[in-house]
């Protein structure tokens, strides 16, 4: 729509490519450090030397790993994520539905948490230092301070085991109706929403309060504007940049950071897939997952930047 955004996009694209490359290299290095290779892992106890050799042969793992890495990289450039070692199906197909699961979960959580966070953040900035504000900030701190797995297991125990309102597992495959979706996702989504939105609301509040000390806010007050008006009309529009950034960070967490939730609720998402891949030393799969996380992060950050630019007339025009 205008030069700046375009240039930001281009610049970001460049950065993205570099970052993706760095990450893939780092991941590759890490995976190479892992003891044992896919053949040994698959054979497990039966990993007698000749058995391993045979299997490596059959899997074509004899050539140096670095070759395989670059072949994978080359493939990626042509949009081919390669094939998994352990069960030679294409990585794309393996990631496919896992990703859609993850996005389902992340999406619902985002839909709930962003408005919630905004509401909390804005209101507590509006009435800052009021009892309301103090209570909110205490609650948010409390939530931030409790490990996710405690919230998760506690939640399961109360709502699934005792009250039996919701299932203890979130079987993505079972969802047919929207109501069912709500029911199966209630717990994980609820927990993710809480954990993510407190982060965002804190940052929102901070960003707003930062701006509330600026001269034009005082000016607005001296025009007789009410606190809500000051916050909504004068502070908020100028805080969009930082807020968007906070949101982006939190959302990127929803994609890659939910391994604990996926574990506790046995939810087949990408994070868990990557952990499996690591456990079986399935290089192409590991790499591809890492790429997805890295990409989603960069993508969201870029969106945030653009939001910031659009919100700021100085940059916009």
């Amino acid at each position: 729509m205008n030069g700046l955004i375009l240039s930001v996009l281009l610049q970001r694209l460049g950065i993205a490519l570099i970052s993706l490359f760095i990450v893939s290299l780092a991941v590759f290095a890490a995976t190479e450090m892992l003891p044992g290779d896919v053949a040994e892992i698959l054979l497990g106890q039966a990993a007698t030397p000749d058995a391993v050799a045979g299997l490596r042969e059959a899997m074509g793992l004899n050539e140096p790993a670095i070759y395989r890495y670059f072949r994978w990289l080359g493939g990626l450039l042509t949009g081919d994520m390669g094939t998994s070692y352990v069960n030679d199906t294409s990585v794309a197909s393996m990631i496919g539905d896992r990703l859609s699961n993850t996005l389902k979960l992340a999406g619902v959580a985002a839909l709930l948490s962003v408005p919630l966070a905004m509401f909390l953040g804005v209101t507590s900035a509006m009435f800052r230092l009021s009892p309301y504000d103090r209570i909110i900030s205490f609650l948010t701190i409390a939530v931030i301070s409790v490990p996710e797995f405690m919230l998760a297991t506690g939640g399961v125990l109360i709502f699934a085991v005792y009250l039996q309102w919701v299932p203890a597992l979130s079987l993505a495959s079972e969802v047919s109706s929207f109501g069912e979706l709500l029911r199966t996702f209630a717990l994980p989504v609820g927990i993710l929403t809480v954990t993510v939105s407190v982060q965002m609301s804190r940052m929102t509040r901070a960003a707003l309060i930062d701006i509330l000390s600026s001269p034009y806010v005082e000016m607005a007050t001296l025009k007789g504007a009410s606190m809500p008006r000051v916050v909504l009309k004068h502070a908020l529009p100028n805080a969009i940049g930082p807020i968007a950034n906070a949101v982006a960070l939190s959302l990127s967490y929803l994609v890659g950071g939910v391994i604990i939730i996926e574990t506790v609720f046995n939810y087949p998402g990408v994070a868990k897939l990557m952990v499996d891949a690591v456990a079986t030393r399935d290089l192409p799969l590991i790499q591809s997952c890492a790429m997805i996380f890295c990409f989603s992060y960069l993508f969201l950050i870029t969106l945030a930047d653009i939001a910031g630019i659009l919100a700021n007339p100085r940059l916009r025009t």
Binding site: S214, Y216, K223, S226, N238, P313
Partner: protein, 552 residues
């Protein structure tokens, strides 16, 4: 006297420090404002002038509160209003024109929306009416193309225009009282003239009362009917502008007035001295990427040449953005020059300070405008002054201690200060420390970048005296950069006038008032407010020139 618009009686305001300690910042101030009358509150920073003005809107900045006395505005007690009640008055009855309009406008809203917001908040008139009215005001305030300027964003219009727009914003609701808070301090002199004119014209033919907060007596003299002189939260003297300027009673007022007539600078014309300490030849410098022609993207200095003899001072004047500070930075090597040649005491001076010998660095010192950002807030004065000593003269221990005390003594500060942090010093003291730090290097040349501009007139005058004194003792030379002519006049032999990166003219300081030939110099000089009531009205400037040179 005539029917009062506002009455302030025995006003007390206290501030609460982080420690929870209560300190009185306004100690029993009383004065009246009549309809259509413009009362000026004058005093140095910290005198509480803004605080008083704001109480007229029932507003105190965070941490402060009105603890006594009464503030009657149109018979309403502003001191004891609830938030909501006060909000009703603000903007509608009493309106505020901020010091820096540039920061007082919401960067993400169109100007028009912000101007008419007052009427929206108070539901005074329909938006269309409000907008029509706004346009009228724009016209009245002599703003260029008033019809469309409202559709712009704040960053798209100049500082002088914003200042006037903020006045329009204040006037939109026909307030009974206008509060001007140093509205021209941030502006260049040529612009200031315009803005003052605009304010005066809108205020004159209306019965709106006004409070004009300023530290600049000359400016106040042009616009105020009565003047209240403040110091440390107390009224020193009150009277008509006439009386305050011509027959000040209170010693402090006398000081203020005196500070405006600086002692003429007696040049120690000793023709014996011939060796030039600094010789700048056809120097170009700027910012941004270097192009093929070897020139940076934005050239801030164009072909500057000047020479400075040992023991003499040269002043560089011009308005913001004319490149005078860049000149200092280029000479200091902070901004490597793109081309040209600079000789220091006969030897070539490397463009980048990284390439300069420690000796050169020592002999050429720079002092900055803002004393408080120029001192590391976390280091005691002693350490700050000690560093150049150990760095250049590798002094240490007792010797260093002693030298530090000498330096403090040299700038007339108590030696006990060396244990204090900069934050605990006043602006003037800080600037003296700044100077002392430069002196610690025992330099030949000091580049003074606007070192008095941020100070109150009285304090500034004292600093100037100090500079002269030091020069006589140590045989220093100064390159003195300022936008304020009187200061330059007060201390320099020669004056260089700069405009938009170029040196337009160089004259002897003594006779610059009449000897200047370049139209811009003329305009600039004529725009400097004089300490007499009629100056603004009698001032005639060629509108052509104005349009050409001033920022409007």
């Amino acid at each position: 006297m005539k029917d009062d618009l506002a009455q302030i009686r025995d006003l007390q305001v206290t501030a609460t420090t982080d420690a929870g300690r209560q300190i009185a910042i306004i100690k029993g101030v009383s004065f009246d404002i009549a309809k259509g009358e413009m009362v000026a509150l004058i005093g140095e920073s910290g005198s509480g002038k803004t605080t008083i003005a704001l109480t007229l809107m029932g507003y105190t900045r965070t941490g402060c509160e009105i603890t006594g006395g009464s503030v009657l505005l149109k018979g309403k007690e502003m001191a004891s209003l609830t938030r909501a009640e006060a909000a009703k008055m603000r903007g509608a009855v009493a309106a505020y024109v901020p010091q820096s309009a540039a920061s007082a406008f919401n960067p993400s809203q169109k100007i028009m929306d912000q101007v008419v917001e007052v009427s929206r908040i108070h539901g005074l008139m329909s938006d269309t009416q409000a907008q029509e009215k706004a346009v009228e005001l724009f016209r009245a305030l002599a703003l260029p193309n008033p019809e469309i300027i409202g559709d712009r964003f704040p960053h798209q219009v100049s500082g002088g225009q914003l200042q006037r727009l903020s006045a329009a914003m204040a006037l939109i609701a026909d307030p009974a009282l206008m509060i001007f808070d140093e509205p021209t301090t941030a502006l260049d002199v040529t612009t200031q003239v315009e803005v003052l004119r605009a304010f005066k014209s809108v205020m004159q033919n209306s019965d709106i009362g006004g409070v004009y907060v300023s530290h600049d007596l000359a400016v106040v003299a042009q616009i105020a009917d009565r003047i209240v002189v403040l110091k440390g939260g107390e009224v020193q003297e009150e009277g008509t502008a006439e009386q305050i300027l011509t027959a000040p009673q209170h010693p402090y007022t006398k000081q203020l007035v005196a500070a405006f007539k600086p002692a003429e600078y007696a040049t120690p014309i000793d023709e014996a001295i011939t060796d030039t300490i600094l010789d700048v030849q056809n120097t170009f410098a700027g910012y941004g990427l270097i192009g093929k022609d070897g020139m940076p993207a934005f050239v801030a200095l164009k072909d500057i040449s000047l020479t400075l003899k040992r023991g003499q001072n040269i002043g560089v004047i011009g308005e913001s953005g004319c490149g005078k500070s860049t000149l200092a930075r280029t000479i200091a090597g902070l901004l490597p020059r793109a081309s040209g040649d600079i000789q220091f005491d006969g030897k070539p001076l490397q463009a980048d300070l990284k390439d300069r010998s420690r000796e050169h660095l020592r002999r050429l010192q720079i002092v900055f405008q803002f004393a408080d950002t120029a001192l590391n807030p976390n280091k005691p004065i002693g350490t700050i002054l000690g560093r150049p000593l150990s760095f250049y003269h590798n002094m240490g221990g007792r010797q260093k201690e002693k030298r530090v005390e000498e330096l403090l003594d040299m700038v007339h500060l108590p030696t006990s200060l060396k244990y204090r942090l900069p934050g605990e010093l006043s602006g003037g003291q800080k600037q003296r420390i700044n100077l002392a730090r430069a002196l610690a290097a025992e330099p030949d040349l000091i580049l003074c970048d606007e070192i008095t501009s941020a100070l109150d007139t009285v304090v500034a005058a004292a600093i100037l005296d100090l500079l002269k004194e030091l020069q006589n003792e140590l045989g220093l030379s100064y390159l003195f950069i300022s936008h304020d002519l009187s200061t330059v006049q007060a201390i320099c032999d020669d004056v260089v006038v700069m405009y938009n990166g170029e040196k337009v003219e160089q004259t002897k300081a003594a006779d610059m008032m009449h000897a200047t030939t370049h139209p811009y110099s003329k305009l600039l000089l004529s725009s400097v407010p004089k300490l007499d009531l009629g100056w603004l009205d009698s001032l005639e400037q060629d509108p052509e020139l104005m349009r050409k040179f001033s920022d409007r």
